[in-house]
Amino acid sequence: MEQLISQQSVINDKRSVRRQLTLFIGAALLLLAMGIGIAAGAVPITLHEIWGTLLGTANTENYRIINYLRIPRVLCGVMVGANLALSGCILQGILRNPLADPGIIGVTAGAGLAAMALMLIAPEFTSLVPFAAFGGALVAVIIVFLLAWENGINPLRLILAGVAVAAFFGGGTTALSVFFSDRIQGTVTWLAGGFSGSSWQHVYMIIPYSIVGILASLCSCRKLNALQLGDEVAASLGVNVQRSRGLLVALAALLAASAVSVAGLLGFVGLIVPHIMRLLVGSDFEYLLPVSALFGAILVVGADTAARTIFSPVEVPVGIFLSFLGAPFFLYLLKRRMKH
């Protein structure tokens, strides 16, 4: 028996080394990205000052910048990135569609319409935008759910319903911007997505969803693995297919809605990150989910830092940055798929 076990450990050596390594490098990169994210900016900050602030011993002028601007902003980026990547990862798994992302279930369109409506019709309540976006996203997802429901959720019907609902809500957003064209200025930044106003309040808004979402998705990796084998095989392995799929779509929706409510419409994180990670660590969700969350966080924090420092003092919304990064990659994926 001993011999057998050692033989197996050799067999999966290379792959498991790559998986462990990706996880380790991801953790290191995230710490690095967070450090740079706090240190870099219009006012450069030393590592010593950051350390002091974290320990509560520093009393420098920069303390306020670190504590009230940079740290919440970096934390928001970490959680938004992780949530979006997890959401996309889960959706790609259960819809068995490599091009699925949180937008496909209506999250983006719903959040966009609700936030626009609030900012344009009742601008005095702009501080409530995150709540409106969150509510709008969930309403859109529920509509998509109801449309796609027929003795359970069929993946293809879910995608088609999502596209239809997104088109409808998108039309609403366009209509609003036509009728209120005089007030549209203030909404543009939100639509582009970014972290320029991120505060501790935003951190507290998203943190419960991140914690619950990360824990719940890590608990579902076995079910996701089974669902990848098709509905019937999953059922024959003892998975309650309809219930698991419903809960997982709901989980993905909450993760994405909480991210969108804090950061606006950030595209492509949920699409590219799980994709690259699948190429690196394979399709076992036990590894795919954690590394997706890690690298989603790295990408968003890194992109946000770049977006606000490269063209300093002008701050480019990180959403634009990500789109310029994401769209070419999307095309690259399509081209690769066509070759196979």
Binding site: Q228, L229, L237, V239, N240, D284
Partner: protein, 266 residues
């Protein structure tokens, strides 16, 4: 331990369309059973109902004497495994990964694969002849090897009853025979009851102990190969004219049929 499976007075629907009514069948000893019948006769629907993939609109399926719908799906999966006709898996998955999936019904949310799981997986890989290929990815396998990998997954569940839906479709005759011989060996080695839907009548006649002929959702014949595999039954079943003959080769005798002309259906 021998598994028993029975379906009593069951009505099976596909969506709102009635496939079968008042179906009753019993499987109470380790044997190889083939379900034969024309396209759309309800063979696969019957297999799905037996495998808990389809809930009967009326009637009951009993697994080892217990109402299957009252059992948890994991409990069912520890006693019975089903392989659907069309299977799909991520291409980077290895043969061993797939076999590991067969242990899902034994695992709780956080438990790691234990010693008994490892033994079951090794046994499944060994009995399907995949030990040397266990680290290969599924995308690198031939159709026949792939089907064996799926069989290894089903075996890792340690089932008493194994349901296969047209396991030889998409395989060439070499792999078809290889797979049927493997099924036969597994049945003998582990005393598993194998119930499968087969299109190839000659395979059905050669590798089964019992044949069930299904037409228009009803059981037309159910019995030993000698009883069912006769000219009159096959002609009525498929609306074709057939010759049934006995072939001998290397001292063994097999029943075989040759359909030569289709008949008008009424």
């Amino acid at each position: 331990m021998t598994g028993t499976l029975s379906i009593k007075e069951a009505s099976l629907y596909y969506g709102k369309h009635i496939v079968s009514e008042a179906l009753t069948l019993e499987f109470n000893k380790p044997e190889i059973v083939s379900i034969i019948g024309p396209n759309g006769s309800g063979k696969s629907t019957l297999l799905k109902a037996l495998g808990r993939l389809l809930k009967p609109a009326a009637g009951t399926v009993y697994l080892n004497g217990r109402d299957m719908q009252a059992m948890s799906s994991a409990e069912t999966a520890r006693q019975l495994s089903v392989l659907p006709q069309a299977t799909q898996a991520p291409g980077d998955m290895t043969v061993r990964d797939l076999a590991c999936c067969g242990r899902l019904p034994y695992q709780t949310m956080f438990s790691q694969l234990g010693e008994s799981d490892r033994q079951a997986i090794d046994m499944a890989l060994e009995s399907t002849g995949l030990v040397d290929m266990q680290k290969r990815s599924l995308s690198s396998l031939s159709g026949g090897e792939c089907q064996r990998a799926w069989l290894a997954m089903a075996l890792a569940q340690k089932p008493q009853i194994l349901l296969l839906d047209e396991p030889t479709t998409y395989l060439d005759i070499h792999y078809q025979l290889e797979l049927m011989e493997l099924v036969n060996r597994l049945h003998r080695r582990f005393a598993i009851t194998v119930i499968m839907v087969l299109h190839d009548l000659n395979h059905a006649a050669r590798f089964s102990h019992r044949l069930i002929a299904v037409k228009k959702g009803q059981i037309m014949a159910d019995g030993s190969v000698q009883q069912v595999f006769v000219k009159s039954t096959l002609e009525k079943l498929y609306d074709v004219k057939v010759t049934v003959m006995e072939m001998g080769s290397e001292g063994k005798h097999y029943l075989a049929c040759f359909p030569y002309c289709s008949m008008e259906t009424d």
